[in-house]
């Protein structure tokens, strides 16, 4: 089934500076990815990521600084821990954990940021609509329930 995934991106100010310019889309960044800029991904809470799924997102990902070069020292490391917590929660819910991901990317305008968006878009596209889409009735049951 072909569909346009609803993907939410949470990216820190430093790794998404290029989003200020119109060139992001020109460079091939998928337009169905909604970008939410945060001052530091370390500020992101698990609930923020879960809320995106509650709102019907098919996939959620976070882009933060390289682990050893975070502007706020350990911000992106904290974000990675929270993304992992969401991954584990998705496993518990019987949902593909690949629907959430963490990327550590360098700052500034660079192709990796675009590539990460394309990769996520392709991955979620292959997985198909998420089970939390507001327009989709659940078809499966909780793992072990």
């Amino acid at each position: 089934m072909s569909f346009t995934p609803d993907i939410r991106l949470f990216s820190c100010h430093y790794t998404s500076q290029q989003s200020c310019g119109a060139e992001l889309l020109k460079l091939g960044f998928p337009e169905n990815i909604r970008l939410n800029r945060v001052s530091c991904t370390g500020k992101l809470q698990v609930t923020t990521l879960l809320k995106a799924f509650e709102e019907g997102a098919d996939g959620v990902y976070v882009v933060g600084c390289p682990v050893d070069a975070c502007h706020n020292v350990k911000g992106s490391l904290r974000a990675a821990k929270r993304v992992e917590a969401v991954r584990q929660a998705l496993v518990e819910l019987g949902v593909e954990p690949e629907r959430v991901a963490m990327y550590h990317l360098p700052r500034g305008l660079h192709p990796e940021f675009i590539n990460a968006g394309r990769e996520m878009n392709e991955r979620i596209g292959k997985l198909g609509p998420g089970p939390f889409r507001l327009d989709r009735q659940a078809e499966t049951t909780l793992m072990g329930a």
């Binding site: 809470q45 698990v46 609930t47 879960l50 809320k51 799924f53 509650e54 929660a89 518990e92 819910l93 019987g94 949902v95 089970p131 939390f132 009735q137 659940a138 078809e139 499966t140 049951t141 909780l142 793992m143 072990g144 329930a145």
Partner: protein, 222 residues
């Protein structure tokens, strides 16, 4: 503190799936400190329950609240503020909190979101370990402050046993033999000869083997 951890999500969703309005009730006591059942964890759990119900084609109104503690009557009484907004309480407190709600609110459905695991502490961020068994007859003055009841797999009073190898317990090589720790510590304190005294057969009645324990302080009762 009392240490706890969240139950598997499927178990929790199965508990509450028949209810239309669920109050996820955090405790700002021990389970906040051990990051198992404080306000943050309750918010995460509320979200996960909504997602879990949605996935099985169900739904419920899930709200969050918190109490200073769930182990004192005056705080349990404060649940009145959510009157009419729930038909089930999912407590993220330890088992004491769940029992207190059940004791004091006979008409309320209450479910445990956590497995209460042990009395312990955190020497390193994100890691908790058992330190006390609440046995009711403390022997720490005899063992250099290290508890053989909680920290010895056999709760030996005259350890170590033959399974102690290189300071590790036979049940798991990652577990310290507490009797080795006691022996080493008493040596550092120049008190090792105190360990020559054989501990007598222990009376475990204070440990709960005589039924549920109760403590009455007449200087405090009104």
């Amino acid at each position: 503190m009392i240490v706890a951890e969240r139950k598997p999500l499927a178990e929790i969703v199965d508990m509450v799936k028949g209810h239309d309005k669920i109050l996820v009730l955090a405790c700002r006591g021990c389970v906040t400190v051990c990051s198992a059942g404080g306000e943050r964890e309750a918010a995460i759990l509320a979200s996960l329950i909504r997602l879990g119900l949605q996935k099985i084609g169900s739904s419920a109104e899930v709200i969050e609240g918190s109490l200073v503690r769930q182990c004192d009557k005056e705080y349990i009484d404060a649940i009145d503020r959510w009157q009419g907004q729930y038909d089930a309480i999912l407590s993220t407190a330890c088992g004491v909190g769940v029992n207190f709600i059940a004791n004091l609110r006979p008409g309320d459905n209450v479910y445990p979101a956590l497995n209460t695991t042990f009395f312990g502490g955190s020497a390193q961020q994100g890691i908790w370990s058992e330190q006390c068994a609440g046995c009711g007859d403390c022997v720490l003055h005899l063992t250099g402050g290290l508890c053989p009841v909680a920290r010895c797999a056999k709760s030996l009073m005259n350890g170590p046993c033959g399974g102690s190898v290189d300071g590790r317990c036979e049940i798991d090589r990652d577990v310290d033999c507490v009797w080795q720790l006691i022996y080493d510590r008493m040596g550092r304190l120049n008190r090792r000869e105190e360990l020559q005294a054989a501990a007598p057969i222990r009376d475990w009645s204070a440990a709960g083997h005589g039924g549920p324990r109760k403590q009455v302080r007449k200087d405090l009762t009104l």
